[in-house]
């Protein structure tokens, strides 16, 4: 019965994951110090847990900021808002799927929940696909900055791949050094 397309639910999930990992890592530090270790030693002993905690905290910050930013876009058209909302939702859902173990560990989600979330992301793919090219166009990277024949704005990839090949310095001469060396073999 959980609605994983609800922004508040997702925000809460990420918050709980970050809280859980930070409290866990912090608890490990405390336990080491209770055992007589100094703070530096305790931090080092718990460093693997600390890294996971920092990732969860940063990830939560990015997700929360995405949701918050969209909630403040008051003058944006409804059509665009829907598209951006899909992106934020997909980003959050995919993040849960990618890090499902951490959401499962603390009992934030069940196995069934994770399966449901994975299915939700798959079902969202066609909705994003229809706008995918327009969404990257909006970044407005010029062809000169992208420096990519494959990513050209006009999409004329194959003609320009062939032109690119013709610029190869090896093509300056028809007969290469190979032929000279071959003769010495």
């Amino acid at each position: 019965g959980k609605d994983f397309t609800n922004v508040k639910t997702l925000d809460s999930l990420y918050k709980q994951r970050a809280l859980g990992l930070i409290r866990f890592a912090s608890g490990k530090v405390d336990a080491s110090m209770d055992g007589g270790m100094d703070l530096v030693g305790a931090l080092n002993e718990s460093s693997v847990h600390l890294v996971r905690a920092a990732v969860a905290h940063s990830h939560y910050f990015v997700v929360r900021n995405f949701f918050e930013k969209l909630s403040k876009l008051t003058s944006t058209s409804q059509l665009l808002m829907e598209v951006l909302h899909q992106l934020s939702l997909f980003y959050a859902l995919d993040g849960v799927a990618q890090h499902s173990g951490e959401f499962l560990e603390d009992g934030l989600l069940s196995g069934e929940d994770v399966k449901q979330i994975r299915q939700l992301t798959v079902e969202m793919l066609p909705k994003i696909r229809v706008n995918a090219v327009a969404l990257v166009d909006a970044f407005e990277f010029g062809d000169d900055v992208l420096g990519s024949v494959l990513g050209r704005y006009d999409g004329n990839v194959y003609e320009n791949l062939f032109k690119w090949a013709q610029d190869s310095p090896l093509n300056k001469t028809d007969v290469s050094v190979w032929f000279v060396m071959w003769g010495k073999m």
């Binding site: 930070i22 793919l125 990257v136 024949v149 990839v157």
Partner: protein, 466 residues
């Protein structure tokens, strides 16, 4: 326009122009960006073969050529340059998105002068820097020392008799290593060194050091500088080494906005020791921006190409579908497309936070510097790691052509990937962020109120409340 790509554009359900305006901070900014791009595109001085066809030396020369032309033409840009961001846009297009020889000059040398220098020092060096009469870089990292700044070995001993600092690289591992444009381009550097005065070490401080003669560009006595050789990428940049041997600089060359050394050698410490590292926080914030840009570029290439490329048959006898129509391809690329948007909005937030805290610091309020440091460390590490691995996913999603330099991915990847390790290796930065989080949990126990980005730690809710 390729018909498949046009079909995709025609099918979009929203107004691309509206989104472009949103992403570029308004119609006015977007218009300026377009005009600056057009200027570069139509300028015959900026026409040349792609960097991929040039040798390392030729890439450097081309980078220098483009950068110097850009400086010479800067005054012709008129009203198109309203702020520093406009200049970055122009330079990015001139350098085709590659790191150029002036990146550290504008990105670190000048900001450090402004943030760490006294008003007199800023008045002396800023005009010279802005007019490119001197070219600077930021020499912090040493061959044997990276993120751990307190471990830097370079020394600056104050001599009260001559009122000079004597700079030395006492060991091989202390040789400054990697700073952009240090090898052949820069005339000056901000050098970070352990300050010794009246027989006592006061830790890392920043010094303006002249490296090369302004007459003939030869390196000065006591200065040994050069290029560190071929790298993974950054071919247009002369990342360099610097060995200092009893090199003397005037007392006035220590940046003294916060900490000071008086003529007699007495030392006044800064109000906050971390202020010396302020430039790093700024650069980390900029790396978050770079991460957003890099993954957005990767997604742009891969998604456009996936719309053009047709592959296999869904069913025997049917035409080859666009690769973008396969759910597996979508499942590779759309998380990265979404990440590009998430990172765009978070880089805006990061820069805002940096500006807010800087304003507070300028008013003497240092209460949020730790939070900013932790936030910039965590976000720099998180976003750069995702973008770095994401670029490889984008590359492989382009199939065999992704391996060609024509795809743009080798350049994009090798130009972005250093940000995973510079200005703090990511694991080290995550640990710095985590230490702050641990401190916050301890502060909570003593009833402290936590600031914005970590306020949620005081949330008493439990999993069942979801």
């Amino acid at each position: 326009i390729n018909p498949d790509l046009q079909k995709e554009r025609d099918a979009a359900t929203f107004d691309v122009e509206e989104l472009s305006v949103l992403l570029h901070n308004g119609a006015h900014e977007l218009e300026k960006k377009r005009k600056l791009e057009e200027l570069v595109r139509n300028d015959p001085d900026y026409k040349s073969l792609p960097f991929d066809f040039l040798s390392r030396e030729a890439q450097y020369e081309e980078g220098v050529r483009r950068s110097t032309i850009a400086v010479a033409k800067k005054d012709q840009l008129g009203s198109l340059i309203e702020n520093h961001g406009d200049l970055i846009t122009y330079n990015t297009h001139v350098g085709r998105g590659k790191a150029g020889p002036f990146n550290l000059h504008t990105g670190m040398f000048i900001p450090t002068l402004v943030k760490q220098g006294s008003p007199e020092q800023v008045a002396k060096w800023l005009p010279l820097s802005e007019n490119y009469q001197i070219v600077g870089t930021y020499a912090q990292t040493e061959m044997g020392h990276g993120t751990f700044l307190r471990g830097l070995e370079t020394t600056a001993h104050y001599d009260p008799h001559t009122q000079e600092f004597v700079l030395n690289s006492p060991t091989t591992t202390s040789i400054k290593w990697w700073p952009g444009a240090l090898g052949k381009t820069s005339t000056h550097a901000v050098v970070l060194a352990q300050l010794y005065t009246l027989g006592k070490c006061h830790g890392i401080h920043a010094f303006v050091v002249q490296l090369r003669s302004l007459e003939d560009h030869k390196s000065l006595p006591g200065i040994m500088v050069g290029d560190i050789g071929p790298k993974f990428g950054y071919g247009a940049n002369d990342n360099g080494f610097l060995k200092l041997s009893n090199h003397r600089i005037p007392r006035e060359n220590m940046l003294m906005k916060y900490s000071k050394v008086a003529p007699d050698g007495s030392y006044s410490k800064p109000p906050k020791s971390t202020l010396t590292y302020g430039t790093m926080t700024f650069v980390r914030a900029m790396i978050v921006r770079g991460s957003a840009q890099a993954i957005a570029q990767g997604a742009t290439i891969a998604i456009r190409y996936s719309a053009v490329r047709r592959q296999s048959e869904m069913r025997p006898g049917e035409p080859e579908p666009q690769v973008l129509s396969y759910p597996t391809q979508q499942y590779k690329l759309f998380p990265l497309l979404c990440a590009a948007y998430a990172f765009h909005f978070v880089q805006v937030k990061m820069i805002e936070a940096y500006s807010e805290v800087t304003e507070l610091v300028n008013k003497g309020d240092f209460s949020r510097t730790q939070e900013l440091h932790a936030l910039s460390s965590g976000l720099k590490a998180y976003t750069s790691a995702i973008s770095n691995t994401g670029l490889e996913v984008c590359r492989t999603s382009c199939g065999g052509h992704g391996y060609s330099c024509a795809s743009g991915f080798p350049a994009l990847y090798t130009n972005f990937t250093p940000s995973v390790t510079y200005e703090g290796e990511n694991t080290v930065l995550l640990l710095q962020c985590a230490r702050y989080l641990v401190k916050c949990t301890r502060d909570l126990r003593s009833g402290a109120k936590l600031p914005g980005s970590v306020a949620y730690l005081s949330c008493g809710c439990d999993p069942s409340s979801i």
